[in-house]
Amino acid sequence: MLEIRNLHVTTGDTEILRGLSLDVDVGEVHAIMGPNGSGKSTLAQAIAGHEDYVVSEGTITFQGIDLLELAPEERARLGIFLGFQYPVEIPGVNNAYLLKAAMNARRKHDGLPEIDAFEFLKLAKEKMALLGMDPKFLNRGVNEGFSGGEKKRNEILQMAMLEPSLAILDETDSGLDIDALRAVAEGVNAQRDPERAIVLVTHYQRLLDYVEPDRVHVLSEGRIVRSGDKSLALELEEKGYDWLREAANA
């Protein structure tokens, strides 16, 4: 579904990704782990299409389509969703409006009519209940005055409503207390589907206690230095990242 080959990404004057390759197949959950500054968020933003992250070499293809030719909104309409590490607050744009606009943008692309208002509300309330969110959040400004945990739940709500083919969740677990972490993990697990791939970008292994990945990759200095199954995450938890860096440099 997602194929990344020899990806080099520069931001400002710094090359962050230095020849990264990755394959994610439909139905799989992958975890990308690595120390701070290893390029995890850069990878997420490069897939989503942030213009500050310049691809100088390599390819990203999604369902056979060259993503690098597409604007962020075009990637979104193909079914790629990025859950932000730091979701922005947008006062004056309410959550319901954004959810509806996002869903309709994708539906239009797929040749479907706009979602019915009643259907939308029913679906939103159902998904919010699952995430332990008060329905009142629908009428609030996007992330406006939300706590860290509320913002992350809101990202998962958007994912649940949009039903993407590929979801990339950037440090969705950071800054969450245990209840919020559980709620977010349940939200992610509910999205596990043979038709969908999920990429979890995370520094810590604790989210993986709740969401079991099929594959774990370790990113260091802009490359994937190790891939394995879920036991790799446990090994990292135990030994830290230094041994990998040493192994990579050896």
Binding site: P72, L82, Y97
Partner: protein
Amino acid sequence: MRAVNLPIDALRHAVASLPEDRLAPVRRAALEHLGQHGLPTPHEEDWKYTDLGPAVEIGNEWLAGGAAAPEPAGLPAAAREVLQRIEADWIVIADGRVDSAAVAAFAGDAVQVTLLSESDVPLDFAAPLTDLNSALLRDGLRIGVRRGAVVERPLGLMICDTAESAAGMSQVRIEIELEAGSRAEFIEYHASAGAGRHYANTVVNLRLARDTHASYVRIQDRERAHVQTGQLNVRLGSASAFEHAAFDFGGRLVRNDLNVGVDAAGASATLAGLYLVGQDQHADNHVRVDHRVGPARSRQDYRGILNGKARAVWNGKVIVHAGADGTDADQANHNLLLSKQAEIDAKPELEIYADDVKCSHGTTVGELDAASLYYLRTRGLDEEEARQVLMRAFAQAIVDRTPVGVTREILAEKMAGRLAGLLEGMAP
């Protein structure tokens, strides 16, 4: 002595044609004052960016045409719609004529409404444009909110002018007093009709006694050939709260002066404004807060979106006088410019003569937030749509802060409509 920029003989004639009532001596004294001081000119610092030339032109034309107020015709459709949709106790002031039947119908215990010609309120005319207002005032309103009264229904002032072909000029004067412990909401709505040129000049004085709460919303949606100058002068008693939002959508040349005097401890003033202007519109907001006693709090948040060759001025002045310790004042002004020819002159001014104060200000002119734009695009909104959503949100934030709840729906519509109009003007 400065040159009078309206012919004094014609003015004298216009004043003489008004009723020989209680206001007559004030009119004559105010006219003498106007004769000596004239109208403000761009040579004065406070009027540097706003030239009243078009107002003077219209005034001259009106005086030359006999200085008549048109006979009351039907209300403009725009005004009728607002009267129907906004739940309030409305008094209409059409072409400077107060609807005295509406005044007579106001027989509530909580609110007393009197014609100025039948009240004993002294009319001050020392300030610029206040002399013009007092000299040519046909009649105005005195509104008193009784001690301890909590007025549930907003009081609406519908100020509308119809200038079908001949140039028109009108004066509106409102004197409001809230007695101790009372609470009330006010709407000042400017509507108009006709393609003719008109100059409207409004003076509102609002006095808040101790422990009062006043919400005051001003909405200006005039025809594009209208010139409007308006003053709102507010005096705050101890522990009183004043909440204000002002909206400018229409008009060709608009100048608003909001002067707030913090005269006692514990008072607060929350001031917000939104101007959406395009083509050759000119909107000037001068806000001045005088903190004379502390502790007290004032907030200013003014926002504007400009397109075409529009020009806006925001001048937010805060003066913390000696002894006003514990003052907490903040001023913000944010602008989005959609065209290279649009111009904003934003100037925060802060003068502090007291200790232990907390004052801050920030102004921005520029672009939409890039992170928000990107976030919306990753949700599938195309760039143009994302821009429009953010612009609407930028303006909506002021609509949401409107202290008189019943105006919110109509404001949201007016805002969205005006914004769509501005964006249409962007098409190549």
